[in-house]
Symmetry: C2
Subunit: 399 residues, 2 copies
């Protein structure tokens, strides 16, 4: 008798890990531009210690015993939504262990095997992976300089309707998109909200990067434009405070929030951490911190952009107005999956564009995160990348 | 078109909340003996602040960026398992958001609708609820002064086998059982491990209270007795440090741990909190803290026991050797569900025994937590309970 006989059907089919093992390198570790990590220099180290002292002095039992999420955190999220033009009630907000938990809960409420889900192409594969695991059929919609191509969305919705198919949701990252760095225009936001209502499709608006705007005016989220309850807005404190705290949230129709909560089987998210985040953020401190982050990340983005223009003039990109990433179109003929191991040998890790598509396309692109490394290391990393690209471009001996 | 049309079948059937809304009371809030909360006087407040300062000084990026669970926490859990006689490897341990998350993940790996799960009667309904939601058929096995009745287990396994039914797992709380307070004897532990191997049934050994032993020698966990990989051991830092940190763990066969991990969709548990727990616990500090907790909770248990003997001599109970709970058999004729609202009116909240059975039995019992309240309030609460019982016992006027 085997233990394995006891597994559910779902547990038998294991998905491979999202990221394979890192390739081996000799000597010093590579400079990594592959992942959207925060810059540790920007973590408010001493303030978090002070904040811990203050919450344990004033809310010892609420923070350390069995307790609900800090009410002040829900209030903070509601206030921030209000400033974005979104009116909310307490029971329309779910606090979770990072927005990744929201994305993990979503399929339980919405996806039966075979259901259709619309995503951007390219997109954040950490999300797609959750939808695929639940058995969703993914349809990728193109993205251009102004974000998701809404006419492609309209055409796809109509074509699906003719086949009597109603997609469960559209997953979109409207602001400083991961990986493309582009922002969905206001007109397109309005059009998406109209299409969602017309076709009865939920819009999952993952706005993880929205607060990290370096220039230009903020745009209203689709949750603010929507009048009929077809938008689930997903946010996180990972990019604006610290990923390691694991605090994200969703705002949406009460009934949907209640159902997401129902599948959050371990109960309310950490009382301790939610009190910590709420107290740190109080009295405008979070907004001031975000201002500092934006100034700092804007410089790093400019550093990377300049280095790319200088070192890699044949590669092209749209310089983003915020966020963590530059989406680089490689010089003609350079394949991302061929480049990645060569780059690693030259001491720089990059994310091949193929990791951002559901269908294996993306060979012409790589994603570069400017968020983590200090400016001088970004410059070194881009020099190394440039060398690696030249190596890949060089015709094979005797070829 | 309705949003609700998009829900999965599972999301349509909402379970009612585990605990209904608290009954309204006038004036001051009742003294509650209903829930297994920690005593906030025992939270190491200042040390947790110091520990936060130390981890952010030495492990800023590991604790606050995207990162795995603190390796030191996995090592700590492995060392504690080793002292219990359980040898473990890193990939046999899963750290989660409380043991409740482990109990929530379990059904995804093991339960298909209609599967059989064996539980103790009475048991912890927070766990049962997770199994039921996944569609498990629950079979309750009796508990006596020495824990789960293993002959009832053997008979049940044999009867199921004759019907060609193989239960997915046995869920048991072997030490200072919730709610009965009793501890499974060594002989019975050995017998359960033998039966598990003979019938191919996983034993889920939820030992949340094991470290809170007031007297007597520790018994080996079933995970230490098991030679064939049929035990999943589940533990938590909630009772020995602070529930609000949300840190629990499971140890078991590598393949099973990998599958539980696969369904932990939000990824690794909080880097920040896992570093905090590991650093606090270092250099024997956790074990010293546990010694302090045991001394303190032992006094509260004795206080409640004495008060019960004095105030309610017609009620009977087995004084536990550890844990959080006394399981009180009510005087003849007193029904727990009738008593609960009367007790609340008299300013004491208790958990009716019916909340600890899957089949509505348990009217003869109530669960009393001595863990949370200070000693003098425990005495007041038991006096109030005694009054409430007398009111329920009093023949109705004209009856």
């Amino acid at each position: 008798m085997q233990l394995a006989d006891l597994y559910t059907a779902q547990a038998r089919e294991a998905l491979p890990p999202l990221w394979g093992p890192s390739l081996e390198t000799d000597g010093e570790p590579p400079l990594s531009l592959a992942y959207g990590l925060a810059d540790p220099a920007l973590f408010p180290q001493e303030e978090l210690v002070d904040t811990t002292a203050r919450i344990l002095a004033s809310h010892l039992n609420d923070a350390l015993n069995y307790a609900p999420v800090a009410p002040a955190l829900t209030t903070l999220i509601a206030e921030r939504l209000h400033r974005e033009g979104v009116q909310s009630h307490e029971d329309e907000i779910l606090v979770a262990y990072g927005s990744s938990q929201i994305l993990g809960l979503l399929p339980r409420v919405l996806i039966e095997p075979g259901d259709t889900v619309l995503v951007e192409a390219p997109t954040f594969m950490g999300a797609v992976r959750q939808f695929k695991r639940a058995g969703a059929q993914m349809i990728g919609l193109p993205v251009d300089a102004h974000g998701l191509d809404v006419e492609a969305l309209a055409t796809t919705l109509e074509a699906l309707k003719r086949k009597n198919l109603r997609p469960k949701f559209l997953y979109t990252i409207p602001t400083f998109q991961n990986p493309a760095g582009v922002t969905l225009s206001l007109e397109r936001r309005q059009r998406i909200v109209e299409l969602a209502a017309a076709y009865g499709v939920l819009v999952v608006e993952d706005d993880a990067y929205v607060d990290l705007r370096f220039r230009g005016e903020p745009l209203p989220p689709m949750a603010a434009l929507d009048q009929e309850g077809w938008v689930l807005r997903v946010g996180t404190f990972s990019k604006i405070l610290a990923p390691g705290l694991r605090v994200g949230w969703a705002h949406g129709p009460r009934e949907l929030i209640a159902r997401l909560q129902m599948f959050k089987l371990e109960g309310a998210s950490s009382p301790f951490v939610t009190h910590l985040v709420a107290r740190f953020s109080a009295n405008g401190r979070l907004e001031q911190h975000i201002t500092d982050l934006c100034a700092h990340y804007a410089i790093k983005c400019a550093t990377m952009s300049q280095a790319l223009r200088h070192q890699l003039p044949e590669a092209t990109f749209i310089e983003p107005d915020g966020g963590f990433f530059i989406w680089l179109q490689l010089p003609q003929g350079v394949q991302a999956s061929e480049l990645a191991p060569v780059a690693l040998k030259h001491g720089v890790e990059i994310l091949p564009g193929t990791r951002c598509y559901t269908d294996g396309s993306g060979e012409a692109y790589i994603r570069l995160a400017f968020s983590e490394l200090p400016g001088n290391q970004i410059e070194t990393a881009i020099r190394r990348l440039s060398t690696a690209i030249k190596v890949v471009q060089r015709p094979t001996e005797g070829g």
